[in-house]
C-alpha cells in the first residue's frame, strides 16, 4: 500500500502515469476494508456489520443495495470515519481509505477524501445562502478568502447553480437542494463521493438529472462513486459494480452485468428492473441474446435482432 502524503493528489497522478507506461493492469485500491465487524454501543452484542471484506478501485461507480436495515448506511459511515469516531461501538478490523486507516485519522481529515451526501438535503444544509453553504467547509479548514471565492465560483459553475448563488437553501426545490448538498461536498475535492439515496425525494425527471450529474463527476473528474439506491432501473446503466448486503454481510459483489442477472438480488426482495426480468424470461426459453441489457434501448435492440432473425 502506498503511503499518501499531504500532496497525495500529485503522487496519485504520477502513479497512474507509471501504470500506463508499464501497461500494467494494477489499479489503485482507494478503499480497502479488512475483516470489519461492528456493533453500536447501544447494543454491543448485535453486530450490524459482519466480516466485511471489500476493495474498491479508484474511479469505480458502485451501487450498494440490500433490504432496509441490512447495514448499508452503517457501512458507509465506516468509510468516512463517522464510525468509530462519532458513533461509538465495538469496532473490529480495518478500514483504509486513500491509504489512511480511519481508526487513526479524525473525521475532518477523512472528509477531505470522502464526501457524504445524505438522503435528505434538509438535514445537511445549514447556511442562510448557497454561497455561504459552499464556503462553510473551506472556512473551517482555514483557506484564505481569495482561494475560497475561486473554489466556490468553480463549483457553482460545475453544478450549474450560479443562478441561485444568493438564495436561501430552504427556498429551493428538492432537486436544487440536492445539487447544493452535492456542491458543498465537492468544495473539498474528495476522491470518493458517497450518496445515500440522493434522489429518493425527487420526481423521476429530477432524479435523472442528479444521476447524470453524478455520472459526469465519475466519468469526467474520475471521482469514485458509491451510491445507495433501491430503484435499480434508473442507476444500472451508470454503474460498474453492484454490491448487495443482507444481515450485515456482503452477499454479492460483482460487475454490474453479472450481478444483475444473479438471482440473489431477487431473492433478497430487491426490485429487479422489468427489462432484466424480461431478459431472463427470453433467455430461459432459449432465445439468443448477445448482451445483458442495462437499458431499455439495449433490450429493444436485442428484440429487434430476434425479430429480424425470424424474418
Amino acid at each position: 500500500m502506498i503511503n499518501y502524503t499531504s500532496n497525495f493528489k500529485n503522487i496519485n497522478v504520477n502513479y497512474k502515469l507509471k501504470i500506463k507506461q508499464d501497461h500494467c493492469e494494477f489499479m489503485v485500491k482507494i478503499i480497502k476494508i479488512e475483516n470489519l465487524n461492528f456493533a453500536y454501543s447501544s447494543n454491543p452484542e448485535n453486530f450490524v456489520l459482519k466480516n466485511i471484506n471489500l476493495e474498491i478501485d479508484e474511479g469505480e461507480f458502485v451501487i450498494l443495495c440490500g433490504p432496509t436495515g441490512c447495514g448499508k448506511t452503517t457501512l458507509i459511515e465506516c468509510i468516512n470515519g463517522l464510525i468509530p469516531h462519532f458513533h461509538s461501538g465495538v469496532f473490529v478490523g480495518n478500514v483504509i481509505v486513500a491509504g489512511k486507516n480511519t481508526r487513526e485519522y479524525p473525521v475532518y481529515e477523512m472528509s477531505k477524501h470522502v464526501g457524504l451526501v445524505f438522503q435528505n438535503p434538509e438535514n445537511q444544509l445549514i447556511s442562510m445562502n448557497v454561497e455561504k453553504e459552499l464556503s462553510f467547509a473551506l472556512e473551517n479548514f482555514g483557506y484564505n478568502p481569495i482561494e475560497i471565492r475561486k473554489k466556490v465560483d468553480e463549483i457553482l459553475k460545475i453544478m450549474d447553480i450560479e443562478n441561485i448563488r444568493y438564495s436561501a437553501p430552504y427556498d429551493l426545490s428538492g432537486g436544487q437542494q440536492q445539487r447544493v448538498a452535492i456542491a458543498s461536498i465537492l468544495t473539498l475535492d474528495p476522491d470518493i463521493i458517497i450518496l445515500d439515496e440522493p434522489t429518493s425525494n425527487l420526481d423521476p425527471m429530477g432524479a435523472i438529472k442528479i444521476l447524470e450529474l453524478i455520472n459526469q463527476l465519475n466519468k469526467e473528474q474520475g471521482k469514485t462513486i458509491i451510491l445507495i439506491e433501491h430503484r435499480l432501473e434508473i442507476v444500472l446503466k451508470y454503474s460498474t459494480r453492484i454490491i448487495a448486503m443482507n444481515n450485515g454481510q456482503i452477499i454479492l459483489n460483482d460487475e454490474t452485468k453479472k450481478a444483475i442477472s444473479n438471482d440473489i438480488l431477487e431473492d433478497l426482495g430487491l426490485r429487479i428492473p422489468k427489462i432484466i426480468k424480461l431478459y431472463k424470461l427470453l433467455k430461459r426459453d432459449g432465445f439468443y441474446i448477445e448482451n445483458i441489457p442495462l437499458t431499455i434501448e439495449d433490450l429493444a435492440h436485442e428484440i429487434l435482432k430476434l425479430a429480424e432473425y425470424h424474418d
Binding site: 425527487l202 430487491l270 424474418d311
Partner: protein, 276 residues
C-alpha cells in the same frame, strides 16, 4: 367519501398551488396521486386533512363540510403519514411514538395497550419497541411513522411517498396491508413518484401538474398515455417505453397489454416472435 369542489390554495397570494381542483373519492377506493415536485400533490392532501384551509371552494368528508371541524377532529377520520418521517417522529422509544397519538385521542389505557400490541405485531416492530426511532434506518423509521397512524384506525389513510427507501418485500407487505384495510371499507390515498409501483398496484391514478388535475382514471389507461405522463414529468413504465421503441420500428404494432405484468408481456412477445 371525499368530495372537493373547486378548491384553490395559495401560499403566497400570487401563485395557486392548487387551482380549481374538483375530485371525488369513494369509500374503500385505492387512489394514487402522481406528478412532479411542486405539482400540488402534498398541498391537496394537506387540504383534505385540514392542515391547510383552501381559500376558495369546499371539501366534504362523508357529506360534511370540513371547514367547521378542527384539525384534531379531522385527525380521527383521516390519518396522514408524512413523506419525511423525521417530521413526524419525536418520542424516545418506538413504543412511546405509537402511543402518542392514542393518548391524544383520549383512548383508555387498556385500549391503548391492545392497539399498541396489535400494530407492533402487524408491522413487525417487536424487536425495535424499546429503542429510539432515531437509531433506526430510514425505511424502518417510515414503518414506525405508519404504525403510529394506523393504530388510530382512521377511515381515510393518506400516505405521502410510502415506498421511499422500502425494498420490494416491504412494498408487497404494504400492498397487502392496504388490501386488508380496503376490505374493512377504508379509503387509501397514496402520493407517489414511483410509476412502476403505481402501474402495478394502484387501480385509480390521478395525475397532477401545476396545481391542476390533468388526468384521472384507471391505471391501464393512464400509464400508457405518454402525453399525460410527459406533461407531469413522470416517466413511462419500462415496458411501456420498450413497446414504444419497438413500435417505432414497426414491430409489435398492434401490441397492447398490461405493462405492469412482465409475464403477461413476455407471453405476448413470445407469441409475436414465434409467429414471425
Amino acid at each position: 367519501m371525499i368530495e372537493c369542489y373547486n378548491i384553490k390554495y395559495t401560499y403566497d397570494g400570487i401563485n395557486y398551488a392548487l387551482d380549481d381542483i374538483c375530485l371525488k373519492i369513494d369509500n374503500a377506493e385505492f387512489v394514487g396521486i402522481i406528478g412532479e415536485n411542486g405539482a400540488g400533490k402534498t398541498t391537496l392532501a394537506k387540504c383534505i386533512n385540514g392542515l391547510l384551509r383552501p381559500q376558495y371552494g369546499k371539501i366534504l368528508i362523508d357529506g360534511e363540510d370540513i371547514s367547521k371541524f378542527s384539525v384534531a377532529q379531522i385527525a380521527k377520520k383521516i390519518g396522514f403519514v408524512f413523506q419525511n418521517s423525521d417530521h413526524q417522529i419525536f418520542e424516545q422509544t418506538v413504543e412511546d411514538e405509537i402511543k402518542f397519538g392514542l393518548k391524544n385521542l383520549k383512548f383508555s389505557p387498556e385500549e391503548i395497550e391492545e392497539r399498541l400490541e396489535n400494530i407492533i405485531k402487524k408491522l413487525d416492530l417487536e424487536k425495535y419497541r424499546n429503542i429510539s426511532p432515531f437509531e433506526l434506518s430510514g425505511g424502518e423509521r417510515k414503518r414506525v411513522a405508519l404504525a403510529s397512524i394506523l393504530c388510530l384506525d382512521p377511515e381515510i389513510l393518506i400516505l405521502d411517498e410510502p415506498t421511499l427507501g422500502q425494498d420490494m418485500k416491504q412494498k408487497e407487505y404494504l400492498v397487502k396491508l392496504i388490501e386488508n384495510l380496503r376490505k374493512k371499507g377504508k379509503t387509501i390515498i397514496i402520493i407517489t413518484h414511483d410509476i412502476e409501483f403505481a402501474a402495478e398496484y394502484i387501480p385509480r391514478i390521478i395525475v397532477m401538474a401545476k396545481g391542476k388535475i390533468i388526468a384521472d382514471g384507471p391505471r391501464e389507461i393512464i400509464t400508457q398515455n405518454n402525453f399525460i405522463l410527459e406533461k407531469s414529468s413522470v416517466i413511462l413504465p419500462q415496458l411501456a417505453q420498450l413497446t414504444k421503441i419497438l413500435k417505432s420500428y414497426n414491430i409489435f404494432k398492434s401490441f397492447n397489454c398490461n405493462f405492469a405484468d412482465v409475464h403477461n408481456y413476455y407471453y405476448e412477445l413470445k407469441k409475436y416472435l414465434k409467429k414471425k
